[in-house]
């Protein structure tokens, strides 16, 4: 018996209505169980592309496969290595957050971080010389994502920097992220003063090698590699969301690594400085959460016909997304500026447009998508607890499925909304919700606040067009 035949005999038919209210009224008059859908037309100008993608017979199974692969990923911390070795990062080649960009387009914090990178590597002695070098094409750069890495804020990676290296056992994929410098005036916010450089050098000479030894010892032990995904799972249930709040994650990381750090043979001074450094930075775990999320979304790449988003990233000027069915193609548009609360006496005028690869958290279903798990963060971004719940609930409208590994307690442990579907964004008008730190517009100021931001709809309009072109002709 077909499902439709079953419907003809069904005692409790349940109807979803979209469109004319009169038809729904006629059903409720008959006391039929009814859901009145709040339908609206698709984003103007995108209907033809949307229809073509909806007509693509590969789409449903492709998206289903994308979700299955994402849910099956793991993330283990397997090494800490310098970028030159781990990413084959050549001399005078840098990586940065977000989609590709030029010096002319780069915003204040990004320029500052690039300048700081040049000075740190010793390619120039002072900021003016560094700027000249950068402006004249003396340094090459490309997105972190092009080498399967991610970087928070400006996300600048230079060859000497030490990177966390993560492994996904389900696919054998690797992903990388630099070590988090801390808060305030740091390279990723575009600061390049002497203390920034000195700190970077200490991280390169002391912290990186120490962590490497500890990680290697840990891998060889009975406990095996640090399970970053498992820490993420627990974090979500401890009031963190993996983007703007990582405190519990940082503490769990220290708990996992401290014994091996102690037995690594480092001096007591170095050990004390390192643990104080890590412990004093609530966002240290962000640089592990991000590559773990990158591993999750990487697994869903390159599935023909899939409309699932695999990358969301910003370079301080543009917002870029990548979609599974269109491979490595970037769909970009000018980034919005976050809206929220400001530190000290900063105001909107001081904020830089959205920046960083940290939106990979939302791409993987945590961060802003799991806001309902982190009531503490909501007030910091100027919202109320019901807003946080509503934000997460809205995200279920535009995602393909749910990730039971990231269960959200207040929603009866419902899995985090996972697998952003471009077609659903275009149909419902609901944009992915990101909650993020705000960088100062001028290089080196540091963080000026935290708030909420969405990708521009134009990215998704570009994506639906791209998907349509990659799908069979219809009509």
């Amino acid at each position: 018996m077909t499902k439709f035949q079953g419907l003809l005999e069904m005692e409790d038919i349940k109807v979803a209505t979209a469109g004319v209210p009169l038809l729904a009224d006629a059903l409720s008059d008959q006391l039929v169980a009814l859901t009145r859908v709040d339908w609206r037309p698709a984003v103007p100008g995108s209907q033809a592309a949307l229809d073509r993608v909806m007509a693509d017979v590969r789409r449903t199974s492709a998206n289903s496969l994308a979700l299955t692969r994402m849910l099956a990923t793991g993330a283990q911390l397997v090494d800490v290595r310098q970028a030159s070795e781990a990413l084959n990062l050549e001399t005078r080649t840098f990586l940065h957050a977000g989609p590709p960009l030029t010096w002319e387009n780069a915003s204040g914090p990004m320029r500052g971080a690039l300048i700081g990178g040049v000075i740190f590597e010793g390619y120039a002695d002072n900021p003016e010389a560094a700027e000249k070098l950068l402006a004249s094409g003396g340094i090459k750069w490309e997105p972190c994502h092009h080498r399967n890495a991610v970087g928070p804020m400006a996300g600048v990676v230079t060859p000497s920097m030490w990177m966390f290296e993560l492994l996904d056992p389900s696919t054998g994929n690797h992903s990388w992220c630099s070590l988090n410098e801390g808060l305030g005036k740091v390279l990723r916010y575009g600061a390049y003063s002497d203390d920034v450089i000195v700190r970077l050098q200490w991280m390169t000479e002391v912290l990186g090698p120490l962590l490497k030894t500890a990680v290697k010892r840990r891998n060889a032990s009975a406990a095996g590699p640090v399970d970053v995904k498992a820490i993420l799972s627990q974090m979500i249930q401890m009031g963190d969301e993996g983007h703007n709040r990582n405190r519990a994650g940082t503490l769990m990381l220290i708990r996992d690594l401290l014994p091996d750090m102690i037995e690594s043979g480092a001096s007591t001074t170095d050990l004390a400085t390192a643990t104080r450094f890590i412990g004093g930075n609530d966002h240290f775990f962000l640089n592990l959460a991000m590559p773990a999320c990158k591993l999750q979304t990487m697994a869903a790449r390159d599935i023909p016909g899939s409309s699932v988003v695999t990358v969301m990233a910003r370079n301080g000027t543009d917002f870029g997304i990548q979609v599974s069915g269109t491979g490595d193609k970037w769909f970009t548009a000018p980034a919005d500026t976050p809206v929220g609360l400001f530190l000290g006496s900063y105001t909107e005028a001081d904020a830089n447009p959205d920046i960083g690869d940290s939106a990979i958290a939302e791409t993987a279903g945590i961060g802003g998508f799991s806001m309902a798990a982190a009531p503490a963060i909501v007030r910091f971004v100027g919202g109320s607890v019901p807003d946080a719940l509503a934000a997460t609930r809205r995200m279920y409208e535009i995602t393909v499925g749910e990730n039971q590994s990231f269960g959200i307690p207040v929603l009866e442990f419902r899995g985090a909304p996972t697998g952003i579907d471009v077609t659903r964004v275009i149909r419902t008008g609901i944009l992915p919700q990101i909650n993020t730190g705000m960088a100062g517009r001028l290089a080196g100021i540091g963080q000026v606040g935290a708030g909420l931001v969405n990708p521009p709809m134009a990215c998704f309009e570009g994506a639906i067009t791209g998907l349509a072109e990659a799908s069979p002709q219809v009509g």
């Binding site: 005692e11 409790d12 008059d29 008959q30 006391l31 039929v32 169980a33 019901p386």
Partner: protein
């Protein structure tokens, strides 16, 4: 005659071989019956003026409400010469159970069942409506006095109020009610911005029923009831026990 839709609450308890049928009354789109001691109401299916009751069987045409049409055929409720065929069951609205209990700034009152039950006139006396409103909200928020009040009502309802009203009170203590009542309770417990509009819709129900239902809801939720003459009596010491 067409077919009938029945409230799912009737499904387990509608007598299969009834012995005694009494038509208790009929008025504006509603007929109420006593079927072997069970209060059953019969309403029109597409009648926006009278909200659907959790105690009802819904029929298609106004002619089917006429008291003289009802009878028993082989122990089954019948209209004219045909037993009523219930072709579909309707799930009555039920309040969402919420952990939002009354805040410390609000004091929830427990009603004095003795004084309220059966007090007032009409098919559902005003005192009963107040109790029903209280019970539905109490069910929604898990009020500690719910079981006590529910038991009190069960014990004394038969002697103090109409069969129909007693049945509605039973449904209310399980969280079932007419749509505007359930909508108001849900709006309050979820702190919705449509609460005022939901209250206005509820107050429009019946003649005074809606207003009394609303007051009962608010008593359970802990919203102070000041100044309204109809409620003043119920707010007095002897009516409400803390």
């Amino acid at each position: 005659m067409g077919v009938a839709v029945g409230s799912s609450l009737l499904s387990p308890i509608l007598p299969k071989k009834a012995v005694h049928l009494a038509i208790l009354g009929t008025a504006s789109g509603l007929t109420w019956l006593n079927l072997d001691g069970l209060a059953v109401t019969v309403q029109l299916v597409a009648n926006r003026a009278q909200p659907a009751l959790p105690t009802s069987i819904f029929v298609q045409s106004p002619a089917d409400l006429a008291p003289e049409r009802f009878g028993l055929i082989d122990g089954r409720l019948a209209l004219g010469d045909r037993p009523i065929e219930i072709s579909r069951w309707w799930q009555p609205p039920r309040v969402r159970e919420s952990s939002a209990s009354s805040s410390s700034s609000r004091i929830s009152k427990t009603p004095n069942v003795e004084l309220l039950l059966g007090s007032g006139i009409g098919l559902t006396p005003e005192g009963d409506d107040l109790l029903a409103g209280w019970l539905v909200m109490a069910r929604a928020i898990g009020h500690p006095a719910l079981t006590k009040v529910q038991q009190k009502v069960r014990l004394t309802a038969a002697s103090r109020t109409t069969l129909f009203s007693a049945r509605l009170l039973e449904c209310a203590s399980e969280g079932f009610g007419v749509a505007p009542l359930v909508a108001y309770v849900d709006a309050l417990t979820s702190n919705s911005n449509t609460t005022q509009a939901n209250r206005e819709s509820l107050v429009r129900v019946g003649h005074s029923s809606g207003a009394a239902l609303a007051k009962g809801v608010e008593m359970a939720f802990g919203i102070p009831q000041n100044g309204s003459p109809a409620v003043a009596d119920y707010d007095k010491e002897r009516v409400c026990a803390q």
